[in-house]
């Protein structure tokens, strides 16, 4: 039984470079971390064995998997998407596609595993056949950097979030934009510093399909100096209405990702000047529990078992935490 309030760090996987993001494969055998030295590092959970996947010419910004757990796709800041075998002893890319102009920041695989969506700094979303990398179509409508993607669990829609707080809902069948959710609270333009800042860092839909969340930051008093606070917006899916703004007042950080647990509560990973935290929210705006991590959290993922959480850290570590009471130490 999941118990967020009992969360503890169970395992540290250490490496030679800070991490950007992390993901479990759908079967829960491995955890993958994308690092600042362009590598993706894989650890086998049962043995701790490590493999380094190095083929991108820049940092990897996102990882996605086929639902059967056989294939991983990586998105690079080198304009390229790569397909990899998840479980090979020494994985090498199966396929490389120059997919966009500029950074590719987000990937998503459709629930039936047939389609891959990619998006990034060129403001376009591209759909590809997962099986062979062939292109399906390009969706245009964002006029700035796209930060996040997800397929609706029904497979009918694709959602995309950009730097300026637009969350677009697209028909997968036709490529038409259906509607836009207003998440502009996650965007700021600081005239003094002359910079756009913020963005929809992640998207998530509740298990019952009734709520959509968009995560990022707000109160950006000093973007260049990292003075801002985390914010997760919770919308009603049917009406698009904003229901709740989840905040943690006074915590200088960004909500890198928010994702629903199958049991319905919301998990948010944040990192910044306040350090790294996992926050757990119910329907109320404030978290019902906050777990402080040893250092700043840049991303997280939930294991298929619903108990383990992987977090990617600046401190050159991927950590596994468990939302369950720590087992008693064996008797001596």
């Amino acid at each position: 039984m999941t118990d967020p309030k009992a969360t503890y760090v169970a395992v540290d996987y250490k490496y030679e470079a800070p991490f950007i993001t992390c993901r479990f494969d759908p079967k829960g055998r491995y955890v993958f971390g994308a690092a600042e030295n362009r590598a993706v590092v894989r650890w086998e959970l049962a043995t701790g064995n490590q493999a380094v996947l190095l083929a991108h010419d820049s940092w990897v910004g996102d990882l996605a998997f086929s639902p059967d757990g056989g294939t991983m796709v990586t998105a690079g800041y080198d304009d390229t998407v790569m397909w990899w075998p998840v479980a090979a002893e020494k994985p090498e890319p199966i396929r490389k596609v120059k997919a966009h102009e500029g950074w590719i920041r987000a990937l998503a695989v459709s629930p039936d595993g047939s389609l891959l969506a990619s998006a990034g700094n060129d403001g376009t979303i591209k759909l590809w056949w997962m099986a062979d990398g062939g292109d399906v179509r390009t969706l245009e409508g964002h006029d700035n950097h796209i930060y996040s993607l997800m397929f609706h669990p029904s497979g009918e829609y694709l959602l995309s979030g950009d730097l300026r707080g637009n969350v677009c809902q697209w028909s997968v069948a036709t490529g038409e934009k259906v509607r836009t959710f207003d998440a502009k609270a996650l965007w700021s333009y600081n005239a003094g510093q002359a910079v756009d800042f913020g963005g929809v860092r992640s998207l998530s839909i509740s298990p019952d399909g009734k709520h959509l969340t968009a995560a990022g930051l707000y109160k950006a008093e000093n973007p260049l100096g990292a003075v801002h606070e985390p914010l997760v917006l919770r919308f009603e899916w049917e009406t698009g209405k904003l229901l709740v703004s989840h905040t943690l007042a006074g915590q200088k950080s960004v909500a890198w990702r928010a994702a629903f647990h199958p049991e319905g509560f919301l998990i948010c990973g944040s990192g910044g000047g306040a350090g790294g935290h996992l926050m757990f929210f119910g329907p109320e705006d404030k978290p019902f529990h906050t777990f402080k991590m040893p250092d700043t959290v840049r991303e997280f993922d939930l294991h298929p078992d619903g108990i383990q959480i992987a977090t990617a850290h600046y401190g050159k570590t991927v950590r596994l935490s468990r939302m369950a009471p720590k087992p008693a130490a064996p008797a001596k």
Partner: protein
């Protein structure tokens, strides 16, 4: 000679002060009226990348290292020179430019760094040194020009003179164009006809001439020069108006402040202004350095490359020194916020035009940019290099009130490898 009667003194001050206020040009040093600039006079443009441009995201990339970050290096129009992929258009102009990759100014403070790069000297309690714009304007223009020769274009703020000329006097202090607009009080009142203006001017001259027959002093000369320079400013106010440039030109430079300011800089240089500085904000990227450099250099690259190409095509590059500088660089180490912090230990600037060698890299840093390994240089060396590139004797002196004031810090010398 002034009669010294207090009422006359007050009346004269109020009279001249009122005129000066109207023209916004109070307090200039004495000088003769201007002639025209010589056709081959040198000029200088400085692009101030305010806040601390990252050398690793611009002139000295280190891809694939622990400090390199995510960006790749791209070839330029000069074989063997690579710069960051964030500057694709500038890369095509590299044959007009050179890089100094070995600056070590040993300073991580914004204010001190700005001062150092502007004056070639460290701040001291003893007094201020003039900035490069004032030095260049005095050295090239002398006392013989109608329009001010030292202009700074800023994204915001008002107009008016600053105090950056130190002991060279207010005549060589910069005039700031806030948002790239001409200073206030330089437009003729709408209800003043040309004929009225002509009559006013004749009356003013007549009064002045009568006054000056017996009361001419250095102070009256200063007021006269102020007023007449201001008049020239008002007459030539259109040179500050880029709306006078063809729409096609405005589009080429881009529909944003930096683009407009680069076009204005070109226009001012073409009209004979000796020194123009354009500021681009904001590079102080302690947080999300890479996202912000994508945005800021994305805005910088096109207009800067266009400016360099235009100066070349118009035959102005041989006489115009261009410098892209900052107050320091940024740390090779990437912090927890994906940011880089202040770093004066091993950083870079870009120069081009005038007497600068073309397509050259001077100086080196180590594999991950943490140290200079070859041809270490200070702001003092760079200052000398500017002057030499403008055909000036950087070891020369200004004669001010009987005193010799060195144009540049005598403890340094030009970087000869950067000179053509």
């Amino acid at each position: 000679m002034a009669c010294g009667h207090e009422e006359h003194l007050i009346a004269r001050r109020n009279f001249m002060g009122g005129l000066a206020l109207m023209t916004g040009m109070a307090g200039l040093a004495p000088t003769a009226l201007a002639g025209r600039l010589k056709a081959n006079s040198k000029r200088m443009i400085v692009i101030d990348m305010h806040g601390g441009l990252s050398q690793l995201e611009s002139w000295d990339p280190k891809p694939g290292t622990d400090t390199g970050g995510p960006f790749r290096a791209i070839p330029t129009s000069v074989t063997g020179i690579h710069i960051s992929e964030l500057l694709p258009k500038t890369a095509k102009q590299m044959h007009h430019l050179s890089l100094l990759r070995s600056l070590n100014t040993k300073n991580d403070d914004h204010g001190k760094g700005t001062y150092m790069m502007a004056t070639g000297r460290r701040q001291t309690p003893a007094g201020d040194y003039p900035e490069i714009g004032a030095v260049v304007s005095k050295a090239i223009d002398g006392n013989d020009r109608a329009l001010p020769g030292h202009i700074k274009i800023r994204p915001s703020g008002g107009g008016g003179r600053s105090a950056d000329s130190a002991y060279l006097g207010p005549k060589f202090a910069s005039i700031s164009l806030g948002e790239g607009k001409a200073p206030e009080n330089t437009a003729c009142p709408a209800d003043l006809t040309e004929e009225s203006s002509k009559h006013r001017e004749e009356f003013r001259r007549a009064l002045n001439d009568t006054f000056l027959e017996r009361r001419r002093t250095a102070e009256t000369d200063a007021y006269t020069q102020s007023y007449e320079q201001a008049q020239e400013f008002v007459k030539q106010r259109d040179i500050f108006d880029i709306a006078k440039e063809p729409e096609k030109e405005q589009k080429r430079y881009g529909n944003h402040d930096f683009g407009r300011h680069c076009l204005l800089a070109r226009r001012l240089i073409e009209k004979g202004i000796t020194f123009v500085q354009v500021r681009h904000s904001n590079y102080d990227t302690h947080n999300e350095n890479f996202n912000f450099h994508i945005e800021q250099l994305g805005e910088f690259d096109g207009p800067f490359a266009t400016l360099v190409a235009d100066l070349s095509e118009r035959g102005l590059l041989e006489s115009t020194l261009i410098v892209v500088l900052s107050e320091f660089g940024r740390t090779p180490k990437i912090n927890q916020y994906y940011g880089r912090d202040h770093w004066g230990k091993a950083w870079s600037i870009c120069l081009g035009g005038a007497g600068i060698a073309r397509g050259t890299v001077v100086g080196k840093t180590n594999k991950n940019g943490t140290e200079v390994t070859d041809r270490e240089a200070d702001a003092g060396h760079v200052f000398h290099t500017y002057l030499r590139a403008l055909g000036l004797k950087s070891t020369g002196n200004f004669q001010l009130g009987g005193r010799k004031m060195p144009m540049a810090d005598p403890a340094f010398e030009p970087i000869k490898e950067l000179l053509a």
